[in-house]
């Protein structure tokens, strides 16, 4: 911001306004929960809540990478299913605690491959990611079932469930500190850093905004896009580890999470089809989704009513964000 840019045409120097509505939404919801149920104010209350969100929050943060790059990843849910049931099925027929140390890397390996395939199919076969990952979703579910024969064959050892289930107790101030929350903070920070502090993050925005221009500006478009799908798949695995840790092994664990992740990102103000998105806001979006669920639980609304409310909030949040962006000219 300098002299002659300030000079003409006369322009207001103040930063364009606009706190992302999602943060307001989250605060409001959490307050409402607290009012409904003061117990929520105690560590066990909100820590349980955060513990619950961890998986979705991390997942959404990863999904955001693909969204910002201009695509969709519908295969994250099935990636969770596959990796978990594969573990739950073939690897862990015997509940061997030590297996965890080689199984998580193995799961990440599978995630890597899935992400690579998604990326390659979109980049080189030019299949729209919506379809490519839809196909991948169907395929992976099939593979998961094939592999496990329709139901998991074994249990997840406690060493594995540690990440999603264990609480570090009697921590000063907060009392309990779930491991899942630590994971959330760590991976959340990494995702934030990658998206908002590195050249990579800016390139991601660029290819989502205008691939042709990015290419002619020297951005390695294919590589960046593929990596986005890889990040998404890897976070899916991590989220899976936490989710499996929390709930234990089940058949279709993770199904439905793909849409939730996208929803969280969009509530966080991400632009579908690319070019704009924020990791913290997306995580806030995930918090909002979970908060809605909890709140409706508390109010004791009937399942159907909850669906309606969720639908309204979803549309409302996005409409508001769009409106604000238009007013702020950003």
């Amino acid at each position: 911001m300098t002299e002659q840019t300030a000079a003409r045409p006369e322009v207001s120097r103040r930063r364009l306004p606009g706190v992302n509505p999602v943060y307001v939404l989250v605060v409001a919801l959490l307050l409402a929960i607290f009012i409904m149920n003061p117990a929520f104010g105690e560590p066990t209350g909100y820590m349980n809540f955060l513990k619950r969100v961890a998986a979705l929050a991390i997942l959404s943060g990863g999904a955001l990478y693909v969204i910002v790059s201009g695509g969709f990843d519908l295969s994250v849910g099935s990636t969770m299913t596959l990796t978990l049931t594969v573990i739950g099925s073939s690897m862990l027929a015997s509940n061997d605690p030590n297996s965890t140390y080689w199984i998580i890397p193995l799961m990440l390996g599978i995630g890597l491959v899935v992400g690579l395939i998604n990326g390659l199919v979109v980049s080189y076969l030019k299949v729209p990611s919506l379809i490519a990952t839809l196909g991948m979703m169907i395929t992976l579910n099939g593979v998961a079932f094939m592999w496990s024969g329709g139901a998991p064959r074994g249990y997840l050892p406690d060493t594995f469930r540690f990440f999603g289930r264990f609480n570090i107790s009697d921590v000063p101030l907060i009392g309990i500190l779930p491991v899942a929350v630590i994971c959330l903070v760590v991976f959340g920070t990494i995702l934030w850093w990658g998206m908002h502090r590195t050249n990579y993050g800016r390139m991601l925005h660029a290819i989502g905004d205008n691939p042709q221009a990015a290419r002619l500006a020297g951005v390695p478009v294919q590589r960046v896009r593929i990596s986005a799908f890889v990040v998404s798949a890897l976070t899916a695995v991590l989220a899976g580890v936490i989710l499996g840790g929390r709930g234990g092994v089940s058949v279709d664990i993770g199904s439905g999470y793909e849409l939730q992740a996208i929803t969280a990102a969009v509530i966080g103000g991400a632009q579908l089809l690319g070019g704009r998105g924020s990791v913290p806001a997306t995580i806030a979006g995930a918090l909002a989704l979970e908060a809605i669920f909890t709140l409706l639980n508390l109010i004791g609304l009937a399942q159907p009513v909850r669906l309606v409310v969720q639908g309204l909030i979803l549309i409302g949040a996005v409409a508001l964000a769009t409106y604000q962006r238009k007013r702020a000219g950003r």
């Binding site: 322009v11 590195t198 993050g201 800016r202 500006a217 070019g275 007013r327 950003r330």
Partner: protein, 504 residues
């Protein structure tokens, strides 16, 4: 002969987030006159037009058509009121045919069903007006046309409405001399038939050639209005607020021209045939030719976007094979594409991000975004200032900048990398005189700094004014080489093939 104004705009004001684009602008245009609208990039010309045509609503002021106040809420209202506009940025549907584009939203119906035959014949009639009936077929997809022809279709679309007011926002930006002449002839005819024409351009000679009156906008305000066309210098002074000394910089002295940086021998590909070329350090080489002559193709070939399939290319004496833009950039070649929106800009990102993009692409992917081995944020801001990019803040999203300012930001992008060879494709398309001059000087400075500059342009005066050496292309071949003393006539001859130029 100039009677009551058809359109009159009174005290129009319009602001966008962070920008006051127009402040109390009044403007009028009468039947049978061509009213030129001049102003620097970002002065507010297009905005004014978009208010006239119902794209934007004014914050203040009123629009009168034939003396009656109008409140357009949708472009359709303006169209119905007899106002037709050729917008600065293309508004064609690439996947539809020329005919379908011409009749977009107003297809002729025969008992409820679209009458395709009528569309075709009417389209042919309109195209005939330009004498381009054989060049553009009504059934062709716009996507299959080159830029010039697309521009022609845009114009045809506006004409075919038989509107009483036609607004042309930089209609010749993508046209070469011959094509411009066709347009001017058409404008004369329309004027004679009593149409009111608002004509926006950055090219002074066009103003002198066709305008009856001139209005100059600066920083969103009318700074001058002439009922007869004054000397270009007068207009320019009104636009810029000062005289522009040496419009074109000094050519390179023989001593300044160094050894060959880039050479091509027998280069060919789908759209190029055995190109022999030599670009020397410190030299600006202008590439002239008609649309489709292959200049862009050559540029794309050198830049690795549409690589050569035969022949050899050397850079600093070493043979290179550049298969992607990345290869080229790494080897020290830069390029500014002709169609900014499609090929250069990331519109949702900030001005800064646009400037930093290339530097970031070659810095460590996980390195800090705000400084890398090429340049840091401060450095970039410096370059943007130097380019006089006008924006409320460099954090402003690119899409809110005017065409010219966008172009300047892209130049800054390349300056950051100090390339050995820099290719400018139509570098001043839609750029105001002041900025033009600064871009010419900039090219010269780059050359003096030891770079080889390749300039593809359809603007002959610019070719002649800014180049040290001129290459003329036709049908994917190099058909002639001239030095800066050549005349426009010579170049046109070579370009159209009516006579071979001096073989180099």
């Amino acid at each position: 002969m100039i009677d009551a104004p058809v359109i009159e705009m009174r005290g129009i004001s319009k602001s966008f987030p962070g920008v006051k684009a127009l402040r109390g602008v009044s403007f009028a245009c009468a039947r049978g006159e061509v009213h030129a609208l001049c102003g620097e990039n970002g002065a507010g010309k297009s905005t004014l037009i978009k208010i006239l045509s119902g794209v934007y609503r004014p914050d203040a002021g009123e629009v009168l058509i034939d003396g009656k106040a109008q409140h357009f809420s949708h472009p359709q209202n303006a169209l119905l009121a007899g106002i037709s506009v050729i917008y600065q940025e293309f508004s064609l549907l690439r996947e539809r045919t020329v005919a379908q584009n011409l009749f977009l939203g107003r297809e002729p119906l025969k008992n409820g069903i679209i009458d395709s035959r009528a569309m075709i014949t009417e389209t042919q009639r309109v195209l005939a007006l330009f004498g381009i009936r054989h060049r553009i077929k009504p059934e062709t997809l716009v996507a299959d046309l080159d830029v010039a022809s697309q521009q022609m279709v845009e114009i045809a679309k506006a004409i075919s409405l038989n509107a009483k007011v036609i607004v042309m926002d930089e209609p010749t930006a993508a046209l070469n001399e011959a094509e411009c002449e066709v347009l001017f002839a058409l404008v004369d005819r329309l004027r004679a038939s009593g149409t009111a024409i608002v004509y926006i351009t950055h090219r002074m000679r066009e103003v002198t050639r066709i305008a009856n009156r001139v209005t100059v906008i600066k920083d969103g305000e009318v700074t001058a209005s002439f009922d007869t066309v004054p000397a270009p210098e007068v207009i320019v002074r009104a636009m810029v607020g000062r005289d522009i000394s040496e419009y074109y910089p000094e050519p390179a002295a023989p001593a300044e021209i160094g050894k060959p940086v880039l050479t091509i021998a027998g280069g060919s590909n789908a759209s190029l045939r055995d190109i022999d070329l030599e670009l020397r350090a410190g030299e600006i080489v202008g590439f002239a030719g008609l649309q489709g002559a292959g200049r862009t193709a050559l540029a794309m070939a050198i830049f690795g976007a549409a690589p050569l399939t035969a022949g050899t290319m050397t850079l600093d004496g070493k043979t290179v094979r550049l298969l992607t833009p990345r290869d080229a950039i790494r080897a020290g070649i830069g390029m500014l594409p002709g169609d900014r929106k499609a090929s250069a800009l990331v519109l949702m990102q900030s001005v800064r991000d646009n400037g930093m993009l290339t530097a970031r692409s070659f810095a460590h992917a996980l390195g800090r975004r705000n400084s890398n081995r090429f340049i840091g944020i401060e450095g970039m801001d410096g370059l943007l200032d130097q380019m006089k990019v006008r924006a409320p803040s460099y954090e402003q999203e690119m899409r809110f900048l005017s065409g010219g300012n966008q172009q300047k930001a892209i130049v800054a992008r390349w300056l950051a990398l100090r390339p050995k060879v820099l290719i400018f494709i139509e570098p001043t398309r839609g750029i105001d005189v002041d900025t033009k001059a600064s871009i010419y000087h900039l090219m010269r400075d780059l050359a003096r700094g030891g770079a080889a500059v390749m300039m593809v342009s359809s603007d002959l005066p610019e070719i002649l004014g800014a180049s040290d050496r001129i290459v003329v292309m036709r049908d994917g071949r190099i058909v002639g080489q001239f030095d800066r003393t050549a005349t426009e006539a010579e170049l046109m001859l070579a370009a159209t093939g009516e006579a071979a130029g001096v073989a180099a």
